[in-house]
């Protein structure tokens, strides 16, 4: 066995669930194997080891989206210090649930939550790869155990990791699931983004009779207009379609295309994010 990869895990704006996925919800076998392959020198939730200035990492995981100006500088520094940067989870990849706020003017958001918005210094939510190059992206809310293990085994063996580019539908067929997009009624159960969402989640939602909500973001070359037409044909409103596309990965160009019809109609709650004009 070669040396362990010197690894650091950094948390930005997120719920920290993906860290807990690794620390707590992985099977004991995967957890112990991870510790065999990776040497965590910085992992604040797991250990009180201090961050060393100007340290160098073989592998850096970045969890969470970027939503302060200081964090932009921090991720740039992490990029310089690391050989491989892996985006860790849906927030790092596409902004995650807090990216829903990007469709509302920031001032309005601040006013809704805090009585004195002048005290706030918030900015919009951005995926990590808007500021730095990310070598590999673990997707999903939360990340998937099998995909994580595949990735670190490949990296430890100095091989190119395999990340799926096909849609969730492929995995769903392999799992012998009934197609809920065709069968069921109701938004939660049948407005399924499976045909346009990247696989790798081992059909976590559809095997529980829930529609895929696209937490892993778009697959390669998705047919978004056709997806929207299918939803409309099933009788879903533009507002419903908008919310489905913008839950986890609405900032990706592909999914924001699906959301477009609604906000361009001057919807009462949302407006098009100017800084991200297509």
């Amino acid at each position: 066995m070669a040396d362990k990869l010197k690894t650091a895990l950094f948390k930005f704006t997120c719920c920290a669930g993906c860290q807990f996925q690794l620390l707590y919800f992985f099977s004991p076998e995967s957890f112990l194997e991870t510790l065999d392959l990776l040497d965590f020198v910085y992992f604040r939730m797991a250990t009180s080891k201090e961050l060393k200035e100007d340290d160098h990492y073989d592998l850096a995981f970045i969890e969470g989206a970027i939503s302060t100006t200081e964090d932009i500088e921090k991720v740039k520094k992490i990029r310089k210090q690391s050989d491989i940067v892996v985006g860790y989870g849906a927030c790092a990849a596409h902004g995650g649930v807090q990216s829903i706020g990007d469709w509302t003017p920031q001032r309005k958001l601040e006013e809704t939550v805090y009585p004195n918005p002048l005290q706030m210094k918030s900015i919009k939510v951005h995926p990590v790869d808007e500021f730095i190059r990310v070598d590999y992206q673990l997707r999903g809310c939360p990340i998937d155990e099998v995909e994580f293990m595949e990735l670190i085994r490949a990296l430890a063996a100095k091989k190119e990791p395999y990340l799926r580019e096909y849609p969730v539908c492929v995995e769903c067929k392999f799992a012998n699931n009934i197609c809920i997009l065709l069968m069921r009624q109701g938004v939660l159960e049948s407005m399924c983004l499976g045909p346009v969402t990247r696989a790798g989640c081992r059909v976590a939602c559809t095997r529980n009779m829930r529609a895929c909500f696209g937490c892993r973001g778009p697959m390669t070359n998705p047919n978004i207009p056709e997806m929207v037409r299918t939803f409309k044909g099933k009788g879903f409103t533009e507002h419903e379609i908008f919310t489905r596309f913008t839950e986890y990965a609405g900032l990706s160009p592909e999914f924001s295309e699906g959301a477009r019809a609604y906000y361009e109609r001057k919807a009462p709650y949302y407006e098009r994010p100017e800084w991200r004009a297509a």
Binding site: T13, C15, A16, G17, C18, Q19, F20, Q21, L23, Y24, F25, S27, P28, F31, F40, F43, R44, M45, A46, T47, S48, K49, E50, L51, S67, D71, V97, Q98, I100, G101, W103, T104, K108, L109, T112, V113, Y114, N116, Q119, M120, S122, C141, P142, V187, L188, E189, A204, C205, R207, N208, M209, R210, H239, E240, T243, E247, A267, P268, Y269, Y270
Partner: protein
């Protein structure tokens, strides 16, 4: 990252001590405290809360009612189920939907597994390394194989039940407004109950382990708040009560509790009647509902000499350990009672309305409130997390602790403060975190 730097300066005879903790390790999120002690008196003190806000209450406006449980479960990675179930309860109240008793029991079961799971995380991964002098559980692995193996056994057994009911252990999805899309089978639950029974000894051992650890003698007056059980230990139902005799229904929550913004923080502080700090969490639940704990939990509490009501904030760790035993018994009992095969999703029409719900999350009482219009769109939302409930009280306790130990050395003061903060088991990304200057 900021380091701890003891400094002494000033005029001769006067001693100035500065306490700086920039970033607590092994707490959920980032957090810090800053204090200056001059001539054995507390000169200044700040608990700064600064983490980037995520505006959940803002972006929920304009979303559909059925999205609330799923989106708010992403508030916290340690207690997603608690947020999920509280949001479900509040939304159902807002749209005027009632679910049957079986569904409520199933929700109670999954909420119990969440409390037990979160306590296991806190005690073994976040708190224990402090006491044995290690950086973390990973570093403890070679020297404490028994404890680490016990941790792994317990979490595997408990996670399996959350996974069976919720469809996944983290960020569950089979539970939705109205019921469960794919409830598990009685047979599977029975099988998992057998596994759970096997770790009951491990749970008792956990209580003994934490009972043996040295606990500083430090007593403080606080108002303890939690749901009050009615025959059962409170998890997702009951009146909200306090050690000062408060008894209110969850519908009246907003008349008694008020949030306000403070200059040093992105977390809003919460107080009873808009001014009095309250303490929520395992310590409050055990203080107020000791009689409702399972017989085994009570006997193990007696064995380690845990007496209620306790006034020592560090005892929260012991209360959590006792709740693990009580929680496992609670789960076993519910698995016997519940009938998963009969659970479905209740059909419902959406009525405009508003409603709030309180449940006991691992870290204490959690409040969600929503106003939904006739089309099912959320018009306003309010979430008060346990850490937001506690923030004001934590500041008060730290202040009193600092006054009491102001004469000691800087390193010792820092360690005691850190222990107190960690015993609160704060969840900074829930409340919007706590941090630096």
């Amino acid at each position: 990252m900021r380091e701890r730097r003891p400094t002494t300066s000033g005029r001769s005879g006067e001693q100035r001590k500065r306490i700086d903790v920039g970033y607590f390790a092994r707490t959920e999120g980032e957090g810090g405290i800053h204090a200056v002690i001059s001539d054995h008196k507390l000169e200044s003190f700040a608990l700064d809360i600064w983490e980037p806000p995520r505006f959940f209450e803002g972006f929920l406006v304009g979303r559909f009612y059925y999205e609330a449980p799923e989106l708010t479960s992403r508030v916290c990675g340690i207690c997603p189920v608690s947020h999920h179930e509280t949001a479900t309860k509040a939304v159902e109240k807002a749209i005027g939907l009632k679910v049957d008793e079986n569904t409520t029991k199933m929700r109670r079961l999954i909420a119990w597994t969440q409390i037990v799971a979160s306590h296991i995380i806190h005690l073994y991964m976040l708190a224990l390394p402090d006491y044995v002098g290690y950086d973390g559980l990973i570093e403890m692995l070679p020297d404490f194989p028994d404890e680490v193996q016990r941790f792994l056994r317990m979490k595997t057994a408990v996670n399996a039940i959350t996974d069976a009911i919720g469809g996944r252990a983290l960020h569950t999805m089979s539970s939705i407004v109205g019921g469960f899309t794919r409830p598990t089978s009685k047979k599977r639950l029975k099988k998992l109950a057998e596994e759970l029974k096997k770790v009951k000894d491990d749970a008792a051992e956990t209580v003994r382990l934490f009972g043996r650890l040295p606990t500083p003698q430090f007593e403080i007056e606080s108002t303890y708040v939690s749901l009050l059980g009615d025959g059962d230990y409170p998890v997702n139902a009951g009146m909200l009560g306090s050690s000062d005799g408060l008894r209110i229904s969850e519908n009246d929550y907003r008349q008694h509790f008020r949030e306000w913004q403070v200059p040093t923080a992105n977390t809003k502080y919460t107080g009873l009647d808009g001014k009095n700090p309250v303490r929520v969490g395992a310590i409050s639940r055990v203080n107020l509902n000791y009689d409702l704990l399972s017989p085994d939990a009570k006997s193990i509490a007696q064995e380690i000499g845990y007496s209620v009501p306790t006034r020592n904030p560090i005892h929260n760790n012991l209360a959590q350990a006792i709740e693990i035993v009580g929680g496992i018994d609670g789960c076993l009992e519910l698995i016997d009672e519940v009938d998963p095969e009969s659970i479905g999703v209740a059909r419902h029409e959406v009525k405009a309305g508003e409603g709030g719900g309180i449940t006991e999350a691992p870290r204490g009482s959690l409040y969600h409130w929503y106003r939904v219009n006739g089309e099912g769109i959320i018009e306003a939302a309010d979430i008060v997390t346990p850490t937001a409930h506690n923030a004001f009280n934590l500041e008060k306790d730290l202040r009193e602790l600092l006054v009491e130990i102001a004469e000691r050395e800087v390193d010792e003061i820092t360690l005691e403060c850190e222990k107190l903060v960690r015993a609160y088991d704060p969840c900074f990304s829930c409340s919007v975190h706590i941090v630096k200057t």
